[in-house]
Every structure is written in C-alpha cells, then in structure tokens.
C-alpha cells in the first residue's frame, strides 16, 4: 500500500532527525538560561528582557494548576475564535454561493470585496471595540471579519471550477439545477471548502487575540497584556506559550477533521470507508 510506505518513510526520517531537533532546542534553552543568569548586570533587567525558561515553566504550572488563572481566559478566547470563525465562514460561504449562482450579484459584490481586501482588517479592531464594547461581541466581530476571507475565496473558487463533462453527464440525466449544484458542484468543491475552514479557524484565533489586546474584559490577549504591564515577563511568556500550544492543538484538530472529511484523497481511508459501506449495506 502506498500509504503505509510513505508513512513509514516519514516516520523513519522523523526518527532520524528528532534527536537533532531536541539537541538544538536544549542548547537554545541553556543559552537563554545562561544569558539571564550571567548576561546582565541587573537581575530585574534580566528578568524583564529574557525571563528564565525555568521561571516560565514555573509560571505555566502556576497559571494552569496552582492558581488556575489561565483557564477562563483560554476558554473566553476560544469561544470568541470559534464563534467568529463560524459566523465568518457562514457569511463567506453564503456570499460565495450567491456569487457563483448569480452573475449580477457577482458583478455588484466585486468592488466591495476588493475594497475589503485592500483594508488591513486588523485595523478595524478599535472601531469594533468602540461600536460593540469590551465584551464578547467586539472580539467575535473582528474574528469573523478576518475569518471571512478564506472560506469566501475557497468556496468561490471551488464552485467556479466546472468539470464540463460531468456537467454534461448530469444534464443528460435530466438533473435539476439544484441537484447539479449540490451533488456535483458543491461536492466537488468540498476539498477547497474544507481548506477554507482551516484558514478561517487560524485567522479567527488571531483576530480574537488582537481584539482582546485592544480592549476587552477577559481572554488570553487581556491576560498577556496584564502580565506585560505588571512586568511579570515570565508569566507573559507563559501566556504566549499557552496560546501557542492550544492554537496548535486547535489546528491539528482541524487538520484531522479535513483528513477524515476528504477521505477519497487517501488510499487507506478509502479502503476503510469502502469496507464500512459494504457492511452497512449488509453485504459481507
């Protein structure tokens, strides 16, 4: 099976390079720790510019296990990001579908899309905060605004890619416009649409954080900003690290979702799905 061979090669190469990656990482951490201890004349200055990795780990322990401060902020940021991603995706996909179905709509929406594309969307943040307040919704709005583009562009592109022969086959079967749209065009576009969802999640996460940096009552952006203002840089770094770790987990989940959804691109999943459907039909 080609899948397992490529997977094995991947595992082998990872196995070979992993020790080197770990070594480089360890060396960097040690240099960082040493810089803090011996690189500055003043310990306060040292902790501000390069907080010790050991202290960052202790700060992580504190905010996650001892004091548990981080959880409500993490949950808040994730809530904003996921809500924003969903709203942005719904709007983006809705507009893209309308634009592919109607030439008139496509013409009228085009200048607005160009205008929106030219605007640095993060810069809209302060205006949203002014309009919607420090709570949940200003961050959700910014997350939705930055998330909107990926699903819009991908859905549009996917739906506009028409397989002439398949369209002709559907026409010869007397398919209605509705049937051709869902069973052929939308289904064929799923691969790109799913990639658009991944983009939306990643950008919504960034958008939510930026909105929180600007002004908010809770969230990881607020927490990190507070630690910076209090000059507890080890905690600020711990906050940053938490965002990285949980962001990574979120993107991996989206990756896995995409991998399972677009199962026909993968030989191994295809084999499994084929067996599953055979069993479901009651034929062994």
């Amino acid at each position: 099976m080609s899948y397992s061979t490529s997977q094995q090669t991947k595992n082998i190469s990872l196995f070979k390079t992993l020790p080197f990656h770990l070594l480089i990482f360890a060396v960097l951490i040690v240099i960082w720790e040493m810089t803090n201890l011996y690189g500055f004349e003043d310990q306060i200055q040292a902790d501000m510019i390069a907080p010790r990795p050991t202290n960052i780990v202790l700060a992580m322990l504190d905010i996650f296990i001892i004091d548990k401060t981080v959880w409500k902020h993490l949950i808040s940021t994730f809530q904003k990001a996921l809500l924003g991603a969903s709203i942005g995706t719904a709007i983006g996909m809705g507009l893209a579908i309308a634009a592919t179905l109607s030439l008139t709509f496509r013409k009228y929406i085009k200048p607005w899309i160009i205008l929106l594309e030219a605007t640095p969307r993060i810069a809209v943040g302060p205006i949203f905060v002014a309009l919607l307040g420090f709570g949940l919704w200003s961050a959700v709005a910014l997350a939705a605004l930055v998330a909107f583009f990926g699903p819009f562009v991908n859905t549009f592109q996917g739906l506009m890619e028409i397989d002439e022969e398949a369209e002709e086959m559907f026409r010869s079967l007397g398919a209605s416009r509705f049937q051709t749209f869902w069973k052929l065009r939308f289904a064929s576009a799923m691969e790109l649409i799913s990639a658009g969802w991944k983009l939306a999640t990643a950008s919504a996460f960034g958008g939510a954080l930026v909105a929180e940096f600007i002004q908010a009552s809770e969230g990881m952006g607020v927490l990190i900003a507070q630690y910076v203002i209090m000059i507890t840089m080890d905690y600020a770094f711990a906050g940053l690290l938490s965002v990285t770790i949980f962001g990574f987990i979120l993107f991996k989940i989206m990756d896995y979702f995409d991998y399972r959804l677009i199962f026909w691109k993968n030989d191994y999943l295809l084999l499994k799905e084929s067996e599953k459907r055979r069993k479901k039909a009651g034929i062994v």
Partner: protein, 263 residues
C-alpha cells in the same frame, strides 16, 4: 401481466424508426459548420457506429440527438418527438467515465434514480443487477479510485443501464483505454446491448471497433462535417472477436477507408 405486455410492445417496436434526422445542420458561432445536411434514420434495436476523423461532426450529431445542444436548422426526432432538451428515454456514456470520487460504484450507479425520486430497495437491487451485468459483481462498494480505467467505464455503463433508457448514446466510451481493455469491453458491450435490445448510437474513431459492433456504420468526413456514406454490416450476432480477421470484415474496412480517403 405487465411484463408480457411490455414484451409485446417491444417486439412491435422492432423495425420502427426511433431516431430520425432530416437535413440537420449545426453551425457554431457564425462560421464553423460542424455538421451539414445530415439525414439519418435509426431503427429500434439497431446498433449504429459513427466513425470519422476529429472534427467530422460525429460528437455534434450525438449531442444533437441527446438534446444537449440545439440544432441550427433541420429536424431531429426521437420517438416521433422533436428533440429540444435531454430526455429520460436516452442514456449517455462519455470518453471519461465521469464518476463521483466520493461515491462507491453502486452509489454512482444509483445517481440516475436519485434524480427522479428517493432511492428505494428496488433501485438498489436494480443497481446490483446492472453492476453484475457489466461484470463488476463484488466491486459494488469500491470507490472509483480503487478501480482501473476499464472498470470505471464499466461503472459508467452500469449507470447508463440504470437509467432504464432504451436509447444509448456513446461518445468514444473506450477511446482512452488500452487496446486489450478496449477489445474486451467491445465483446461485453455486444453481449449487453444484445440482452437489453437497446438502440445504440456509438461514436468512435476506431474503424475496427465501429464495424465489429455495428449493424450499420455511418462514415463521416470533416470540413464541413457530413455523413459521407452508410455501410451495412451483416455478420450474425452474437459476433465472435475472430470475425475481425475475416475477408468480409477487411473488405468493409477498405470501404470505410476509401470513403474517408476520397474526401
């Protein structure tokens, strides 16, 4: 009761004109005459091959009969109706199998039924039977990516059978396959068409294939595309693949070549 009535009807249809073209012309744009003044008359149960080089209008003729494109002038009639749009009594097959990658073979075959109504157990049984007829028993739950090119075309043929149409239009269905696979599928198509008693219009640029399968071969020539000659092929059915080496077969090949060469 119903079955016997249908059979009697089928028999009475035999020899009756199913597809008729009168002076059919198709001009693309302003100047490109793809088909000029084509006259044809296809009987129920007949197998007609359309053979000719690229640009001779054979695909255009097929698409006109299918109702996929509109004629410029003349008349195309199917079962005495003027063709204006795709019809349910016509099934089609193309050079590419055009299967949906995310559907298993049987789910692809069920597509025509889905267009008409909610899938029933009867549709599923019919799809299983269609797949068996094209020699894909045991492959019902394979996805297109798990099948060879020849097997994918078999699925496309099963999908055509599933439509229940008694007119089959095929546009170079085996054109992208290797010689061995093409030959095997020719033999199978001969058997299947015989079993279904369908009226078939088969476009190809392979002269052997055209003659082997057909009751009549319509030879077409390009610039402008027109029907140059209609040749009858009188071998008995079912035909063995070995007839292709017989003297009579080669005489017909020469005849087709002469027509194509003299234009």
């Amino acid at each position: 009761m119903v079955a016997t009535a249908k059979k009697a009807e089928d028999l009475s249809r035999f020899g009756q004109t199913v597809i008729e073209g009168k002076n059919v012309t198709k001009v693309f744009g302003e100047t490109v005459t793809a088909l000029e003044g084509a006259n044809f008359d296809i009987q129920a149960g007949e197998f007609i091959s359309l053979v000719g080089p690229s640009g001779c209008g054979k695909s255009t003729l097929l698409r006109l009969v299918a109702g996929l494109i509109e004629k410029t002038s003349g008349d195309v009639k199917v079962n005495d109706d003027l063709v204006t749009k795709p019809r349910t009594d016509i099934g089609m097959m193309f050079q590419k199998a055009v299967l949906l990658d995310w559907r298993t073979a049987i789910e692809n075959v069920l597509l025509p039924s889905e267009m008409k109504h909610r899938i029933t157990q009867e549709d599923k049984d019919k799809a299983m039977a269609s797949l068996e007829l094209v020699g894909l028993k045991g492959f019902e739950f394979h996805f297109p990516k798990q099948l060879s090119g020849g097997m994918q075309q078999r699925v496309a043929l099963a999908r055509l059978i599933q439509t229940g149409a008694d007119i089959m239009l095929m546009d170079e269905p085996f054109g992208a396959l290797d010689e061995f696979t093409r030959e095997r599928l020719n033999v199978e198509l001969m058997r299947i068409v015989g079993e279904l008693k369908a009226t078939t219009l088969f476009v190809t640029h392979n002269i052997q294939e055209a003659i082997y399968l057909a009751d009549r071969v319509m030879v077409m020539t390009p610039r402008p595309g027109k029907i140059a000659e209609i040749i009858e092929v009188k071998f008995e059915r079912p035909r063995d693949i070995s007839i292709q080496t017989s003297r009579e077969f080669n005489i017909i090949i020469e005849q087709v070549r002469d027509t194509l060469g003299s234009h």
